[in-house]
């Protein structure tokens, strides 16, 4: 545990994020059920978001809100990068949108062919 404790916090988040990406990809590639694939996608997406957040971290920084807690004069040295935070916000919403559409596809596919198995949807090929 001491090794972990020595690591920079953002690196841990980064690694977890990347790990999540891999887990999600594994799920997308091996789970035949579409809902599970969507779960895999969500995991991947979340992993990327974690990576993004970790990138924005500045050692010892706090939230980039310039108010009484963080005086303007010293702000530059005390806050984390606001940009990745802003980006991740956008990315989350987009991930949500994609997930919603994916889910509605899954619903429709189930209705149309009474199955959710991806390998049973292979009529278009070659």
């Amino acid at each position: 545990m001491s090794i972990l404790a020595d690591l920079p916090i953002s690196l841990i988040v980064l690694c977890s994020g990347l790990g999540l990406v891999l887990i999600g990809l594994w799920g997308m590639l091996t789970q035949r059920n579409m809902i599970r694939m969507i779960v895999g996608f969500s995991l991947t997406d979340t992993g990327v978001h974690m990576v993004m957040v970790s990138i924005g971290y500045v050692t010892g920084g706090t939230a980039p809100i310039i108010n009484d807690a963080v005086p303007m004069a010293d702000a530059v040295n005390r806050v984390v990068d606001p940009v990745p935070s802003a980006l991740v916000l956008t990315a989350i919403v987009i991930g949500l949108g994609v997930t919603a559409v994916m889910l509605s596809y899954a619903v429709r596919i189930y209705k149309a062919r009474k199955t959710l198995m991806i390998d049973e949807c292979t009529e278009s090929k070659w």
Partner: protein, 1062 residues
């Protein structure tokens, strides 16, 4: 205030977003009020987007600076900015225009749901954003906007297969964009900015493994969006199943956006240009190979789409690598706009005709308008003139040649050929395999025809129009002589407008147009071009008179014929290799279409087209090398090509020889000649084949003689020529079909001419040109005679004829004279050609070629006799007893040509002097005349004297016989009155020895002419299909497999470009 609102907001490129979003957000409300009003708002917004893009682009083209749109009132890189420059403007305008047309196309589906309308609108805006934004993360947003809108629209028709395809599409693209995001954030980590320009400025900060991986992630995910092989099965499924309008927009719009995004980030990717080019090239090549095996029209379009994007990627990467970015607009822009209009048009057509299997496309066989549109789209797609793709491909190949990228030239050309193969196979299906233009068997069922309203065709028609317009503009940019070079098309268009009037009237109009146009195009030519203009234009007109023997509708025939004949004039007029190639391709296309008009012409026409295109691509490659070596496009500068002259000559010669049906690549020839309309076959053989000769003479003159370098290829060419002659003759011997036989004969006769040109001596060339003229005369006569015979007997198998000399005496005499002129028997014209050729061959020391020439001209007697014997002589079939002579309009041109043969036979000097003069600029005259006798180092030839002696020795016995006859009782006997063991034959079939006439010859040496070439090419086709099958195993339809391929792509890109080290 109001005016500034208009100029600053609405007409500003920003207005595109304002319009799209404003309308998009409001459409649900309008929809609640009134569905129609929502549709109105939708179109108004789209039209506005087109107008904004158009007006701003116009301003930029006229010199205004490119527009930078800053947001938030803060300068970049601290805020997001958009750019609307020349390239951006072009892409945006193109995408929006296509979107407007696509919207019209899929309006019936879109208007069902207001959400579909707004999704469509926002999707287009997303593409616009992808093109214009200069911020990496903002690019991601626009990609996602486009993607999500696309996902939803794909699922608009909720059948099982669409949904499955859509889900695969989502999985694939979302994996790709995830990696894009990862890459983006790591780039931000290193550079500390998201503005692309700013990143480029600080590109040195991107370094180490993180920089390497981040850049590759960004690049690869964008490339994946372009659907590179093999990670593209998901794209194909969508192209196959989604609504055609949506599929078209994905193919041309979304791809355009992604492509432009790649273009934007490429400055960061300098070291990966090779990889990019490789991916593009492989995708282009492989998808076109796989397309060969595809039977589903929409999926075929998918392969073509993917292939085209591959080509675009390839072109982009190579142009940047070769530092030719000034040509980007012309090459990439041209290719893009071409792909966009043509591919979208095809998707729309596929949508409105709605037949998934290619073979069901005969549903438009009786719809000339639709066929025309289909043909134009396909021609544009494979880069035939005058469409933008032609100019772009030309320029691309030129640049590649300059950069020494020969392998890539091969990839581009081979890929294009493959694409042509499957596209025109499709066209063949649409054309219908079997069209009885003679109207002899009305029992054939016409498959149910597609019902298509004009409104549905409108977008396709507009796309067609735009293709022409842009093609013309590009022609201006390429400094092509206009309108001269476009005259064939104009003439064709004009005649197409009056295609509704009666047959003969149209023919007359065509002759007038071609006459006037041809004169205008060729009257200021001189030298050898002038000579050929008499032959090609004058001769073409002469033979064309015969087309009036038919008075039926012949839709499309006359306009196409005008295009063909005038494109020959263009060919002669060409000063630069580009103009030459333009005319050449125009000729190829129009003659292909004309062949398809024949009775069973569709399939052979496809062969013809493919070989012609292969020939054209060899020519293109040759010209490109010449341009690279000499730096000039002028045909007269071909000779300044230095060391590569041998290679250039070989490439060009291969091209022309294919077009002339050279030995081994002749298999297109008999089919095309046989199945084309009978009068058109005469033109093909007598006139069009001369274009190849002209080309050969041209390059021989400019490359072979001007340079001091010895050309070994000419010796090979000499052999090719004579082997063509020999095998053409041998194969002709064993044909039963009269047209096939004469077609093989034509091939053989052209072989001598090739050999003559290959000799590279004055005498050789004179003989070649002399034989060219002669070939024009006798083949014109022969094929026109055959047209008459086929017209009267409705039959092409010679053994089903016989004894026609009684019914068609003029045709017989003309044929006989033509055959004597062909055979080389003195005193007619053929002898002179053979004599000069033989002398020239001996002079050059090509003795064995001379021996082959002897042999092949002896073999030629076999089929020549057979033609006369089995058709005109022997026993007449009972049902042919009442046949009449061929129509006078068919005989008239033949008569003129007979007269010409006679005059030239007696006074060859009339012809030889101008021929010799035309050659003089290149090789000085070696003809020595003593009076009328021509002297060579070896022998002499006194044509008038020969004519006189032969006439004398022929007349004397005739007179004697006539005198004797006076004293005799000459009894004219009936057909069956022969010495037949004192019996009377029952039927003519019993005693007409015609079928398998040379069976014994076949027994003796028939093994030489077993169809090995055909077998070879069949094997090649077979092999390519097998290859296609093995290349497409990746497309197993499983979405997970596709996702796996995408991951593999990322891994492979990283490993390939440097691996995990460093």
């Amino acid at each position: 205030m109001v005016s500034s609102f208009f100029s600053d907001i609405l007409l500003h490129p920003l207005g595109i977003y304002v319009l799209a979003l404003g309308a998009g957000f409001l459409i649900p409300l309008f929809d609640r009020a009134h569905r129609g009003s929502a549709v109105l708002v939708f179109f108004a917004a789209l039209a506005g987007m087109v107008a904004i893009a158009g007006l701003n682009l116009l301003a930029i083209v006229n010199g205004a600076p490119s527009i930078d749109i800053e947001t938030a009132g803060i300068a970049p890189p601290f805020s997001i900015n958009l750019r609307f420059g020349l390239l951006e403007g072009g892409f945006v305008l193109a995408v929006n225009t296509a979107a407007l047309l696509a919207a019209w196309h899929c309006l019936p589906a879109l208007r069902q749901h207001a959400s579909a309308l707004l999704l469509f609108l926002i999707m287009v805006m997303g593409i616009n954003g992808m093109i214009m934004t200069r911020d990496l993360f903002n690019l991601f947003i626009f990609i996602e906007i486009t993607s999500i809108a696309t996902y939803a629209l794909i699922g608009m028709e909720r059948t099982g297969s669409v949904l499955a395809a859509g889900f695969k599409y989502i999985i694939a693209t979302s994996v790709a964009t995830t990696f894009f995001l990862l890459g983006t954030i790591f780039i931000y980590y290193q550079v500390g900015t998201l503005n692309i320009d700013d990143i480029i400025v600080h590109a040195d900060l991107i370094q180490g493994p993180i920089g390497f991986i981040a850049t590759l992630f960004v690049l690869t995910s964008l490339l994946i969006e372009l659907k590179p092989y093999p990670a593209n099965g998901w794209g194909l499924d969508v192209y196959e199943t989604a609504h055609s309008g949506i599929a078209s927009l994905i193919s041309v719009g979304v791809s355009a956006g992604v492509f432009f995004a790649i273009y934007k980030v490429l400055p960061l990717m300098d070291s990966y240009l090779t990889s990019i080019a490789f991916i593009g090239g492989a995708t282009f090549l492989v998808s076109n190979i796989i397309g060969l095996k595809q039977d589903n029209a929409r999926r075929l379009l998918g392969y073509s789409s993917i292939g085209q994007m591959g080509l675009l990627t390839l072109a982009l990467a190579l142009l940047l690598q070769l530092e030719a970015s000034s040509q980007l607009v012309l090459v990439v822009g041209g290719l893009f706009i071409n792909h966009m209009l043509a591919k979208a048009g095809l998707f729309w057509l596929a949508g409105i005709i709605d037949r998934s299997q290619l073979k069901d496309w005969c549903a438009i066989a009786q719809r000339p308008g639709l066929l025309l549109l289909l043909g134009i789209m396909m021609a544009a797609l494979i880069g035939l003139p005058p469409f933008p793709g032609f100019w772009a491909k030309w320029q691309l190949v030129m640049i590649l040649a300059e950069g020494g990228q020969y392998l890539w030239i091969a990839v581009v050309l081979i890929g294009s050929l493959l694409e042509a193969a499957y596209l025109f196979r499709w066209f063949s299906h649409a054309r219908g395999t079997d069209n009885n233009s003679m109207g002899d068997s009305s029992t054939d069922e016409v498959p149910p025809q597609a019902v298509v309203s004009l409104a549905q065709q409108l977008p396709v028609a507009i796309a067609t129009l735009l293709l022409f317009v842009i093609g013309y503009v590009m022609a201006l940019a390429m400094n092509i002589e206009t309108p001269g070079m476009f005259l064939p098309l104009l003439a064709g268009f004009a005649l197409w407008l009056i295609d509704g009037i009666r047959g003969r009237l149209k023919a007359l109009a065509m002759l007038l147009v071609v006459g006037a146009g041809g004169y205008w195009l060729t009257n200021d030519l001189d030298g050898i071009n002038r000579l050929f203009s008499y032959l090609l234009v004058g001769g073409g007109l002469l033979v064309s008179i015969a087309v009036m023997y038919r008075n039926d509708d012949r839709r499309g025939f006359y306009p196409l014929l005008a295009v063909l004949l005038l494109s020959l004039a263009v060919l002669l007029r060409a000063k630069t290799s580009l103009e030459f190639f333009f005319g050449w391709e125009l000729m190829t296309l129009s003659s292909y279409l004309l062949v398809t008009l024949g009775r069973n012409g569709v399939k052979p026409a496809l062969n013809y087209l493919l070989f012609s295109l292969a020939s054209a691509y060899f020519i293109l490659a040759g010209f490109a090398l010449a341009y690279a070596a000499s730096g000039s496009l002028l045909l007269s500068d071909l000779g300044n090509s230095g060391d590569s002259i041998g290679l250039i000559f070989s490439l060009l010669a291969i091209g022309f020889v294919i077009k002339m049906g050279g030995f081994g690549v002749h298999i297109w020839l008999p089919g095309a000649y046989a199945e084309a309309d009978d009068d058109f076959t005469a033109l093909l053989s007598a006139v069009v084949s001369k274009a190849g000769i002209f080309g050969l003479v041209l390059i021989a003159a400019n490359l072979g003689v001007q340079s001091d370098i010895g050309l070994d290829p000419t010796y090979v060419l000499g052999w090719i020529g004579i082997l063509t002659a020999t095998f053409g003759a041998l194969m002709a011997v064993f044909q039963e079909d009269i047209k096939r036989m004469v077609a093989y004969s034509s091939m053989g006769q052209l072989g001598y001419i090739v050999t003559g040109i290959a000799l590279m001596s004055h005498l050789g060339w004179v003989s070649a040109l002399y034989m060219t003229v002669n070939h024009f005369l006798f083949k014109g006569i022969l094929f026109l005679s055959i047209a008459g015979i086929v017209l009267r007997t409705n039959e092409r198998m010679m053994y089903k004829m016989g004894g026609l000399i009684k019914n068609m005496p003029f045709t017989f005499v003309f044929t006989m004279i033509a055959i004597i002129a062909m055979s080389g028997v003195p005193p007619l014209t053929g002898f002179g050609g053979k004599w000069m050729l033989f002398n020239a061959l001996m002079d050059k020391g090509w003795y064995f070629i001379a021996a082959f020439a002897f042999f092949s001209s002896a073999v030629a007697f076999l089929y020549m006799f057979r033609l006369l014997q089995t058709v005109f002589l022997g026993q007449r079939k009972l049902e042919h007893a009442q046949l009449r002579e061929a129509p006078a309009i068919l005989l008239a041109p033949q008569f003129i040509m007979i007269a010409a043969i006679m005059v030239i036979s007696a006074y060859p000097r009339l012809l030889l002097d101008p021929l010799s003069a035309a050659i003089d600029p290149w090789i000085s005259n070696t003809l020595v005349w003593e009076g009328f006798a021509l002297q060579t180092q070896y022998g002499y030839w006194n044509a008038p004297m020969i004519m006189a002696v032969v006439g004398g020795v022929w007349m004397v016995p005739l007179i004697i016989l006539l005198l004797v006859s006076l004293t005799m009782k000459i009894q004219k006997v009936e057909q069956f009155n022969i010495v037949y063991a004192a019996e009377r034959p029952h039927r003519p079939e019993d005693t007409h020895f015609a079928y398998n006439f040379f069976a014994h010859y076949d027994r003796a040496i028939g093994f030489l002419v077993r169809p090995r070439a055909t077998a070879f090419w069949n094997a090649a086709v077979e092999w390519s299909h097998t290859l296609a099958s093995s290349l497409r195993v990746f497309y197993n339809g499983n979405g997970q497999t596709y996702a796996l391929f995408i991951l593999m792509y990322f891994v492979a890109m990283v490993l390939f470009n440097g691996g995990l080290g460093s």
